[in-house]
């Protein structure tokens, strides 16, 4: 489908979508719940007072486009960050702004969620609908993957609880007790919605942050976990989310064709929503034409650090078709956490281990620390790449795929 045709379809579908809004009952609509926030922006401005340890965020769930590293445009479902948009009073004006911002505003991966231990996190999800697929009335959810001691009402599994319909909002509440590397995704028709792009990074910084600990002769104030001894101290941290797309599935979705979930085979391996070499572009990728100027790929995977620094990699995997092994070339990794838990036994035995690769299936996470050598000169490069070497391509385009670089400043 050429982009002009896409545009015309989009125009029609947006129009029909907006007209459809009127079928919702009057009490339905965009509704952001955030303590201390009165204008529904999920932020605190002017006279609004942020309660202690409170964080808010407003996500939109809808669709959009991204550009693969070989230039292919891909239709996606995804989340957009609507935080900061005034939503109150409700209809007509501000909520319409939210819907317009969210429509075709999906990012891939989803906007990162960064939390601190002790936070009370109010996450509002507004279903802005699928502009390109007005035939779909899919509800959406947020599944905070790995959240310990979860209750179904906020777990985002539609079968176990509730999911939000188009044009309305659902606010999730999480008391953040446990640091570590998690992830989040929509759990509605998860094989489809996740393949289509509704996945993102989520991690929680520990209460130990801000304290000072000396480890290996260096002083750290930021840590992966409450380690007690500074052994997870780091200078810079990077979330790295493994993912991959089946372009035939995305094309079928855009063209309203049947979607045989069981037949998925991914041909675009990615890190943080991009194939190499776009992974090492530190900036956002240009907005796809089909998105009407909305930037959809904001997350770089380029890792940069000074010599002698410790780099924390928060690695997660949210592809839906296979396992991937992520290797480091030229430098080893020290695995200090898995699945949002410090790698220590119940009586404190230290189970950290060094390696040159980690193998993750969907829904697994690994925290690994890389020590940049103290004598590394500026410009030196190391690599993070999949050792499943046939995934070092963007579909058939070589020198691409699941790879990024670690560059010494």
């Amino acid at each position: 489908m050429n982009s002009i045709l896409k545009y015309s379809i989009m125009a029609v579908s947006v129009g029909s979508f907006l007209s459809m809004m009127s079928v919702f009952p009057a009490n339905a609509g965009v509704s952001v719940q955030c303590p201390g926030d009165t204008d529904g922006s999920a932020t605190w401005t002017g006279s609004e007072v942020q309660p202690p340890n409170t964080k808010c965020m407003h996500l939109g769930a809808g669709d959009g486009f991204i550009t693969m590293a070989d230039g292919l445009s891909q239709y996606i479902f995804g989340f957009s960050n609507l935080t900061g948009l005034v939503t109150r009073p409700v209809f007509p004006a501000p909520a319409d702004d939210v819907m317009m911002a969210g429509m075709l505003g999906a990012s891939f991966p989803a906007p990162p969620i960064v939390l601190d231990e002790g936070d009370e996190f109010y996450l509002t999800l507004t279903n802005v609908g699928m502009a390109v697929r007005p035939d779909l009335f899919d509800p959406h959810t947020v599944h905070y993957h790995g959240f310990p001691q979860a209750a179904p009402i906020f777990d985002g599994v539609p079968d176990s609880s509730i999911s939000i319909n188009m044009g309305s909002s659902l606010t999730y509440y999480y008391k953040i007790n446990d640091p570590g590397t998690y992830m989040y995704h929509c759990h509605v028709e998860a094989a489809e919605h996740m393949q289509m792009g509704m996945v993102g990074n989520l991690y929680v910084r520990p209460a130990q942050d801000g304290t000072t600990k000396i480890y290996g002769g260096k002083t750290y104030t930021r840590f992966a976990y409450n380690d007690g001894d500074g052994s997870t101290g780091y200078d810079v941290d990077y979330p790295i989310q493994i993912g991959s797309f089946d372009s035939a599935f995305h094309n079928a979705s855009e063209a309203v064709q049947p979607l045989p979930f069981a037949l998925m085979v991914d041909n675009y391996p990615m890190l943080n929503g991009r194939g190499y070499p776009d992974t090492v572009n530190p900036a956002s990728l240009p907005a796809p034409a089909e998105n009407g100027g909305k930037v959809s790929q904001k997350e770089s995977s380029l890792v940069t650090a000074d010599r002698g620094q410790r780099v924390l990699l928060r690695i997660s995997n949210l592809n839906v078709t296979r396992f991937y092994t992520l290797g480091s070339m030229g430098i080893s990794m020290n695995v200090i956490g898995k699945d949002a838990k410090l790698l220590r036994g119940p009586d404190g035995k230290n189970l950290y281990y060094k390696t040159n690769s980690v193998t993750l299936g969907g829904g697994q996470s690994v925290d690994a620390i890389i020590d940049i050598p103290a004598d590394a000169i500026s410009g030196r490069r190391y690599f993070l790449y999949t050792t499943n070497l046939n995934y070092l391509s963007n579909d058939t385009e070589p020198f691409g795929g699941m790879m990024t670089e670690i560059r010494v400043n």
Partner: protein, 448 residues
């Protein structure tokens, strides 16, 4: 406003009809299997069913004169027992050709062959030729979770269904996974994970094992069906021994109360890796391949760690202990007086002072904390079949007609599934495949 409304009528979706059946029948919180020291297994053909109406030829181990099973019978033995497994080859193949030899290997066990039934030499072990018997014997020296599977033409025969689980109960007792206090559990569930490439089964059904020769099915393997304990969801949640699943006797329906310990025995029965994601909370992995994760004898699982996704590897076993209390949610999972007088309750942490109610395991620090947000109106929501209508444990609330209904006691339900999400489908229907639900019932709601 939340009200304890027991719905008198609800529409049951076809998809999850099986679940209700389960609730009316013995749920079976212990693992189904056969016990003893001598097991007579028979290699036979059978046909399994999938929820989308599919039927597939399998080769399975039958218990004696019973039907072939997918997976084979779960053999439950006591530590120290001398175990004898007599395998008789009653396999038949299409086209009237000679049925292949069959065999069993027992990873992690020191197997000898009984002189009475010596079998014939094979690549990995002694085999039973067509119509013949071979007897394997081993002493179940170590407790734990093990697997058994075909040692003959394994790429084909394991795929066809020759695999199963062995549970060795420790001398310390049946509610221990291993001989250590930290391996104690209240309930246990088996999760034997397999996948299937129907091309292979159809080729064997039509042409016998020769049907796969010359294809690339075994090398370029492409499964499109996924199972837990031999069933694809929602059949995983149906009753065990369901008459309409004669070749798939085992279900997978974990149930528990808050504060209980659920032992997950996870077996990689097929050939693929599976990331088994258990919603609700972390689980502590205490053993692999029948070996407690211990730094030395008698230390207990001091090398165990907690995960939110169990990485199941082919042929290997994982034992993990799952607990759930709702600790630290920041709101009272049983509701507060503000939700209605029927929600008034106490939290008594006096007998065993551990932060939890002595009877209900409610986390007392969150007691009486209000539900933190306002939920959207019903018109704005889609409801799951397992949604009780209420965010509170053990509570029901009215839902629009036709919604919910699969959770009559207002339990908390969690999806447990392969996080390779394409594996939790029945072709193009989601959810299905390698999926089940954990049901946490409110304290006082009987399980079993």
């Amino acid at each position: 406003m939340h009200m304890r409304v027991i719905k008198t009528a609800f529409q049951v979706t076809v998809l999850f009809a099986a679940f209700l059946l389960l609730l009316t029948v013995n749920a079976g919180a212990m693992i189904n299997g056969i016990t003893g020291t001598t097991f007579n297994l028979t290699a036979k053909t059978g046909h399994i069913s999938t929820p989308d109406g599919g039927s597939y030829l399998i080769w399975g181990y039958a218990n004696g004169t019973g039907l072939a099973q997918y997976p084979g019978p779960t053999l439950i033995v006591n530590q120290g027992a001398l175990v004898r497994v007599k395998l008789t080859n009653n396999l038949t193949v299409a086209g009237g050709g000679t049925p292949p030899n069959v065999s069993i290997v027992f990873p992690g066990q020191q197997v000898t062959i009984a002189s009475a039934d010596p079998g014939v030499p094979g690549i990995l072990t002694k085999e039973a030729a067509s119509g013949k018997t071979v007897t394997y014997q081993f002493t179940a020296t170590n407790p734990g979770t093990y697997t058994y599977y075909s040692g003959t033409d394994s790429a084909l025969q394991i795929e066809m269904g020759f695999m199963g689980t062995i549970i060795v109960r420790p001398t310390k007792g049946a509610n221990f996974a291993y001989n250590h206090q930290d391996a104690k559990f209240d309930r246990e569930t088996l999760f034997l994970l397999t996948e299937m490439d129907p091309r292979i089964h159809q080729a064997v059904e039509n042409f016998g094992p020769a049907g796969v020769v010359g294809t690339d099915y075994l090398a370029n393997y492409f499964p499109v069906l996924w199972f837990i304990n031999g069933r694809a969801a929602p059949d995983t949640m149906a009753e065990p021994m369901a008459p309409w699943l004669p070749y798939q006797p085992y279900n997978c329906m974990p149930m528990m109360h808050p504060g209980e310990k659920l032992l997950m025995r996870v077996v990689g029965g097929g050939r693929d890796l599976h990331p088994f994601h258990h919603h609700g909370s972390h689980a502590r992995v205490i053993a692999r391949d029948g070996q407690l994760l211990a730094s030395a004898p008698n230390t207990g699982p001091d090398l165990s760690t907690e995960v939110f996704t169990i990485q199941s590897q082919p042929g290997s076993t994982i034992d993990a202990i799952f607990e759930w209390t709702g600790k630290g949610l920041g709101w009272d999972i049983y509701g507060t007086a503000a939700d209605g007088p029927e929600f008034i309750h106490t939290c008594n942490d006096t007998i065993v002072v551990d932060g939890f109610d002595d009877a209900t395991h409610e986390y007392c620090a969150d007691h009486d904390k209000p539900f933190p947000v306002t939920l959207p109106t019903n018109q704005e929501l889609a409801f799951g079949g397992f949604y009780s209508g209420s965010p509170f444990l053990g509570s029901l609330n009215s839902l629009p007609p036709g919604q919910g209904g699969l959770n009559p006691n207002g339990g908390y339900t969690y999806m447990w599934h392969s996080h390779t999400e394409k594996e939790m489908v029945n072709y193009d229907i989601f959810p299905g495949g390698m999926m089940t639900m954990l049901l946490i019932e409110a304290p006082g709601v009987p399980i079993n």
